[in-house]
């Protein structure tokens, strides 16, 4: 098994005809991800990816006619909230929104609809998820992965790639790597993903890559203390040197009113028994010392 993406994934790419959509669709297909449909209003009936994938006007058609169960969104910010709602309405179970720059108030409206429908939204402004050897959805580079039994969840993109690369280099493979996105309002939280890893028989340990802003790391710490005893967990928190009141690139990465500091998150996680890495390069070492075996 694995979480969120795997061999059972039947992907529809929303915005498959755009530059990013097409580029990453090729990467995903090359990795072995089963892309069953593309979607682009007005291009229904055409085919994408050298004729290998049918394009539909609507996600509902992609579900009905191609059996899509997962979607990935490469639609500009102005259209992305609608794309998410369309996927939810079509009955898609897992929706990965790569799009960056969606206004927070739009997401405040979208997230309750997603939750009421029981769907899983990953992102927006996220790199997607990869279950090495099975499937990848999103934009995480394929080359950095190694099959294994450590689950990774992160708010970041390239920082995640660094950590995954370091793990793979150390012989530590991953069950699934999930980027939940850098926006303040998004779908699955750290705790949501931790719960999925807890229930995944092929995940033995967890790496969490957090950053300043919000309180999801603190909530994850509470979840870990209650629900993940016995499962080794290592965390790294970015932004210890970030000044207060400034957005550090990610819309969600901001310390304000003394809340959301890296120090606070580190304290909470340590109190929950999570090992804290001072640098991403320390993560493989901490995993090994926690009993994770290279494969």
């Amino acid at each position: 098994m694995s979480i969120l993406v795997g061999r059972e994934t039947r992907l529809v790419v929303q915005g498959i005809t755009g530059r990013e959509g097409e580029f990453h669709s090729r990467q995903m297909q090359a990795y072995g991800t089963r892309i069953v449909a593309g979607q682009r209003p007005g291009k229904g009936g055409q085919r994408a990816l050298d004729g290998s994938v049918p394009i539909f006007d609507t996600v509902a058609q992609a579900v009905a006619e191609a059996g899509a169960n997962t979607s990935v969104i490469y639609v500009p910010a102005s259209g992305a909230p609608d794309a998410i709602l369309e996927a939810v309405d079509a009955g898609i179970g897992a929706i990965f929104c790569i799009t960056e720059g969606i206004p927070a108030l739009d997401m405040l409206k979208v997230v309750p609809v997603v939750e009421a429908a029981g769907a899983k939204l990953i992102g927006p402004n996220c790199p997607g998820a990869t279950s090495p050897g099975r499937a990848k959805v999103g934009i995480i580079p394929a080359s950095i992965h190694r099959e294994g039994r450590v689950g990774l969840v992160s708010r970041s993109g390239t920082l995640t790639y660094e950590v995954v690369q370091a793990m793979s280099d150390a012989g530590i493979g991953q069950s699934t790597c999930v980027g939940i996105g850098g926006d303040p309002i998004h779908g699955l939280t750290f705790s949501d993903v931790l719960a999925l890893f807890r229930d995944d028989p092929e995940t033995d340990a967890i790496v969490l890559i957090g950053e300043i802003g919000g309180s999801e790391e603190e909530q994850a710490a509470a979840f870990a203390a209650e629900q993940l005893q016995g499962m080794p967990m290592v965390a790294f928190i970015a932004g210890r040197t970030a000044p207060e009141g400034k957005r550090m690139g990610h819309a969600g990465a901001i310390v304000s009113g003394g809340m959301g500091t890296a120090a606070g998150k580190v304290v909470a996680l340590e109190a929950a028994g999570v090992r804290i890495a001072a640098s991403p390069t320390e993560i493989p070492r901490l995993l090994l010392s926690a009993g994770v075996r290279p494969q």
Binding site: I209, E211, G214, Q219, A278
Partner: protein, 393 residues
């Protein structure tokens, strides 16, 4: 994006909230003129407030009362041109001073954990809400707006009653709902009125009336929503911005100036923060946060380099690129171009891994760049280079 107080007042007033009259003045003469009008209109005094986007105006002497036009002009002269936390005051707001009976706090923010708009109120107005939350958490009243229907009538009433504003129920309800409506209409992520005040006014026949009024306003706009609000983008105060910030925004780079000596150029926000953290851990101090984004081409690299070097404190540069979408060889070529244009010679440590890292290594080697492979090693080398440069200077 933070708005100046007078812009924030405009937005509140456009939503129908009770904001007393004000003028904006850029010269002591204009301050005096405005004061004449308000004093003639019945005000006993006027308040003159520096319009800057940093906190602590009051403590810095940027907010003063005047009892006559001459005093107002004198205060204007003192405040205009003053520096507050490094920002020069170019404009002041002039308004009739209110006869305040009681001050409240009312503010709307985005509650990330609850995924709702959160309206916070406190009967202890005039002080910062974070301060109240710290010292007397029970004194902060919290109500979450409905995600689709906004702040409902009963929620506004709950807030009003909890603040003890039952005697001003209709006004308080209209203000609470108007605050959230202002947030939604303008894609704000903060709308704050502090103080919201019960103000006493005397009519010419001596009768007194009490009313709720918004005596200050703070609004920040969600940057992601600015593309659909050109009217708010137009309120951006370029006078108050560092030219480097303006250039970074134009080039679509995420750049934040800091106090240290080691310039950082990284792709990805998380990795950029981490790079800063590792510089610090290696004993140095980062001069900036800079995310060149995904798929950055060589021209973007050149702009990034120019921004970093515009800071005279920079003694060394650390380039840290993890090639995913971004191609390492492209960045390497960009660095060579940038170095060719560079007016100041600053040591550079470059780490490029991921997509096309091997090609990048060949290019960098040919151009005699100092390179590093691990993150920690790169940070340590940059700190060492900065120390050498500092010692030489």
């Amino acid at each position: 994006m933070k708005l100046q107080e007078f812009h924030a007042r405009q937005l509140l007033r456009a939503s129908g909230l009770p904001v007393p009259a004000w003028s904006v003045a850029t010269t002591p003469h204009e301050v005096g003129e405005a004061a004449v009008g308000y004093l003639a209109g019945g005000a006993e005094r006027v308040v003159v407030k520096a319009q800057v986007l940093v906190g602590g105006r009051g403590k810095a002497g940027g907010v003063k009362l005047a009892a006559n036009p001459e005093e107002a002009a004198a205060i204007g002269r003192a405040i205009l041109g003053m520096e507050i936390r490094g920002i020069r005051v170019r404009r002041v707001l002039v308004a009739p001073a209110a006869d305040i009976v009681h001050e409240y706090y009312l503010g709307a923010v985005i509650d990330r954990a609850a995924r709702r708009i959160l309206l916070m109120g406190s009967a202890a107005g005039g002080v910062e809400i974070e301060e109240v939350a710290r010292t007397d958490p029970a004194a902060v009243v919290r109500v979450h707006a409905h995600p689709h229907l906004g702040l409902l009538g009963y929620q506004a009433r709950q807030m009003a009653f909890a603040l003890g504003l039952g005697a001003h129920l209709a006004e308080a309800v209209a203000i609470a709902r108007g605050l959230v409506a202002t947030m939604v209409a303008n894609d704000a992520d903060l709308v704050e009125v502090n103080p919201l005040a019960i103000v006493r006014e005397r009519a010419s026949d001596g009768t007194e009336t009490l009313s709720l009024q918004c005596l200050d306003a703070k609004v920040t706009i969600d940057d992601s929503a600015l593309p659909r609000h050109p009217e708010l983008e137009a309120m951006r105060d370029l006078d108050e911005e560092d030219p480097a910030d303006v250039e970074a925004r134009a080039a679509d780079l995420s750049f934040i100036k800091l106090e240290g000596t080691i310039g950082c150029m990284v792709n990805g926000a998380g990795l950029a923060m981490t790079t800063m953290d590792l510089v610090k851990r290696a004993g140095g101090a980062p001069a900036n946060f800079l995310d060149i984004g995904g798929g950055a081409r060589s021209d973007k690299v050149a702009t990034a380099m120019r921004l970093i070097l515009s800071d005279a404190n920079v003694r060394a540069i650390l380039v840290n690129i993890f090639g995913g979408i971004t191609r390492g060889d492209e960045v390497a070529r960009g660095l060579i171009e940038a170095r060719a244009q560079q007016e100041r010679d600053v040591p550079m440590v470059v780490r490029i891994v991921g997509t096309n890292a091997a090609e990048a290594a060949t290019i960098l080697e040919a151009a005699a760049f100092e390179t590093a492979t691990s993150l920690d090693d790169a940070a340590a080398r940059a700190v060492a280079a900065a120390e050498r440069a500092g010692a030489a200077a």
